[in-house]
C-alpha cells in the first residue's frame, strides 16, 4: 500500500446514517459511520449481528429497499463520485461493473432456473457490451480463475448441480467478471463448512493480488479478519467502535468491545487454563439508542460519564481510533 495512493481512497464514507421504519418506530441501524477504503486494500468490517455492518455494505451499493429503509444523511464517495446522489439508472451502471458484491448464502443467491453461464454473461453483456461468444469465453476464464474445474462444461449447468463452496466461487466470478474497483463481500463464508471457508478466503486472497480490486470483507469472525485484511473497522450499535490496522487492533485494542471480541476468540498461543470470556448482555435497542456510549451496559470499565455522553472517535495514535472515554487524556489523568 503506497503512501501516495492512501490519500486518494477508492471509497470514502462520511457520517452515514440509515434508518428503518417499522411498526415499533424508527430503527437507527447505522448512526454516523465513517471509514474509507484505499486502493488494493482489504478492509474488514467486524461486529455482531444487528450492529449495522450489512446495512452499511448494502447502502454502499444502494441495494436496500426504500421504504422501509431511508438514508438519512452522510456521503459515500466512490472513485470521486457521490453515490448517494446518483439516480437509479446511474447506480445500475455502477453496480456489477465498478462495484461487485457477494452474499452470505451461496445456496440462495444464484437463480435456480438459469444456467450458471448465463448468470455470468448477462453481467458482461450489460456492462462491457460483449457479444455472446466473447462473454461465454470470458465466463469460462472467470470460472477457471476462481478455481472451478471443468469450467467449459460447468457453465451450462444449473446452480443445484454445484456444491455450496463452488456456488460461492461462482458468485465471486460474477462479482469480479467486469473487473470492479471494489468488491463487497458480505459474510461470504458464514454459511460454509470450515474447510470450504478456508478455500474461499484463499480464492479472495489470491485474486486481490492478481486484480486491482479493493475488498470490503464483512464478517463477525475476527479470525478471518486476521487472515486476510489490512485494516479493520469494528462496528457496534450502528457506529464505528474502533478502527485501525489489523496489527494495531489485535495487539492493542483500545475499545472494551474489541477487547471482548478478542478475548472470546479461541487462540492457539494462549494456555488452556485461560478461559474464553464471553461478552455478556445483548446489543443496544436501536429504536431508542442510548445518549451515552452504546456499549456501557455491557462494559466492564463503565463509568458515569459513559451513560451520559458519547465520546466520539478518539484518536489513539497511528491510524487507530476508538469510541471510548478511556482514551481521553482527562480520563487517563484521573485514572492514573
Amino acid at each position: 500500500m503506497s503512501e501516495v495512493l492512501a490519500y486518494k481512497p477508492v471509497l470514502e464514507v462520511r457520517d452515514l446514517r440509515v434508518s428503518f421504519h417499522v411498526r415499533e418506530g424508527e430503527v437507527q441501524a447505522v448512526r454516523g459511520v465513517d471509514f474509507h477504503v484505499n486502493p488494493g486494500e482489504v478492509l474488514g468490517i467486524v461486529g455482531e449481528s444487528g450492529c449495522g455492518k450489512s446495512v452499511t455494505a448494502q447502502t454502499l451499493m444502494r441495494l436496500i429497499p426504500s421504504p422501509p429503509s431511508r438514508i438519512k444523511s452522510g456521503s459515500v464517495r466512490f472513485l470521486g463520485e457521490e453515490v448517494l446522489l446518483k439516480s437509479e439508472k446511474e447506480m445500475q451502471q455502477l453496480r456489477g461493473s465498478k462495484m461487485g458484491m457477494i452474499f452470505q448464502d451461496p445456496m440462495t443467491s444464484l437463480n435456480p432456473t438459469m444456467t450458471v453461464g448465463r448468470q455470468i454473461t448477462e453481467n458482461l453483456k450489460k456492462h462491457l457490451k460483449m457479444s455472446s461468444a466473447a462473454a461465454q469465453k470470458r465466463a469460462v476464464e472467470m470460472l477457471k480463475l476462481v478455481g472451478i474445474p471443468g469450467a467449459e462444461t460447468r457453465i451450462h449447468q444449473y446452480p443445484h448441480e454445484f456444491s455450496g463452496g463452488m456456488r460461492q466461487r461462482v458468485m465471486i466470478a460474477i462479482a469480479l467478471s467486469c473487473d470492479p474497483a471494489l468488491l463487497i463481500a458480505d459474510e461470504p463464508t458464514t454459511a460454509l463448512d470450515v474447510t470450504i471457508q478456508a478455500q474461499i478466503l484463499e480464492v479472495l486472497n489470491d485474486l486481490r493480488g492478481r486484480l486491482n480490486t479493493s475488498i470490503i470483507l464483512i464478517t463477525h469472525n475476527l479470525g478471518i479478519v486476521a487472515g486476510i485484511c489490512d485494516r479493520v473497522v469494528v462496528m457496534y450499535g450502528g457506529q464505528v467502535a474502533e478502527t485501525g490496522t489489523v496489527k494495531e487492533i489485535f495487539n492493542h485494542p483500545k475499545h472494551p468491545y474489541t477487547e471482548g471480541l478478542l478475548k472470546s476468540l479461541p487462540r492457539l498461543d494462549t494456555s488452556k487454563d485461560e478461559p474464553l470470556i464471553p461478552i455478556h448482555g445483548a446489543p443496544p435497542d436501536l429504536v431508542n439508542p442510548p445518549t451515552g456510549c452504546a456499549f456501557t451496559p455491557r462494559c466492564p470499565y463503565a463509568m458515569k460519564i459513559c451513560q451520559r455522553l458519547d465520546p466520539g472517535l478518539i484518536d489513539c495514535g497511528g491510524t487507530q481510533a476508538a469510541r471510548c472515554w478511556l482514551n481521553h487524556p482527562k480520563v487517563q489523568e484521573a485514572k492514573a
Binding site: L63, L94, G96, M101, S109, N111, M114, E122, Y158, H160
Partner: protein, 311 residues
Amino acid sequence: MVRYITVKLLYMLFTLFILATATFFLMKVIPGNPFLGEKKLPTQIYNNIMEKYGFDQPLYKQYLKYMNNLIHFDLGTSMKSTHLTVNKIIHSSFSNSAKLGIAAIIVSIIAGIGLGIISALYHGKVIDHFTSILAVIGVSIPSFVIGPLLQYFLGVKLGWFHVAGLKGPLDYIMPTITLSALPIAFIARLTRSNMIEVMNAEFIKTAKSKGLAKSFIIYHHALRNAILPVVTYLGPMTANIITGSVVVEAIFGIAGLGKYFIDSVTNRDYTLIMGVTLFYAAILMIMRFCTDVAYVFVDPRIKLSGREGNA
C-alpha cells in the same frame, strides 16, 4: 425420462382401474335398477332387457365383461336412451364442454397470472388491494351464484348477452367468466405470493448487484421462478373446471357433457353415470400427467426418477 413417464402412466391406469372397479360395485350395491320404475314392465320385456344388459349373469361375469369392454374403450349403452351408446353421447356432447373448458383454462391462466404479477409488483398499493379483494371474491362466490347474477345483470337488465345457449361467440363470454372466476382467483393469489417471495429472494439481490435494470430482472429472473408453481395447479384447475362445467351448463342451458351427467344422475342412468365419471376422471388424470411431465421440463431442479418429484 422414459422410466418416469412409464411409472406415471402405470399409476394413472391403476387409478382408473380402481375407480372403474369401485364405481361398478357401487352401482351393484344399489337396490333395483332404472327399469324397475313406477310403471311396471311386462315380465317378458323386463327379462329381455335384463339379458341385453347382462344383468342375468353372475356378478363376476358382469364385472369381467365390463372391464373387457372398458379396455376396448366401450362404455356400454345408456339405460334411458337405449338406442344410444355412452360413447356416442360423450362424443356428441363433449365438444361443447371442451370448447368452454379450454376457453376457461386459457382465460384463467392469462388473467390469473397477469393479475397476480400486477398486484405483486404494486405490493401494498391500491391496485394490489383491489386485485386481492377480487381474488377473494372469486374464491368465495360459488359459480351457481355468479352465473345467475351475470344472467340477471348482463343478460336481463343490460341485455348485452343472450341469457342462455351457445350460438355465437359472444355467448361464450358469460359461461367462461362463470367458469374461470375460481381458477383466476386461485392463480392470481398463487402467482402474487410466489412473485412477492421471489422478489425478496437473495438471487434477486444478486441480480440487482449486477446492475441489471428492474424490468430485466422481473422478466428474466423473477417471472419464471414465480410462475413455475402455477404449473402444478393445472391439475386441480381442470378438476375445478369440470365441476364448474356441470353447473355452468345447467345454468346457461348448454348441451354439454355436464348436462348429460346431471340428467344421468336424476334419471339413475347407471351406465351413463359410470361412463361419464370414468371419462371425467381420465381427462383429469391425463391433465395431471401432462403437468407432471411438463414440470420436469420447465424446472431444471427436478431430477428424473421413477418416484414422485417432490422437490
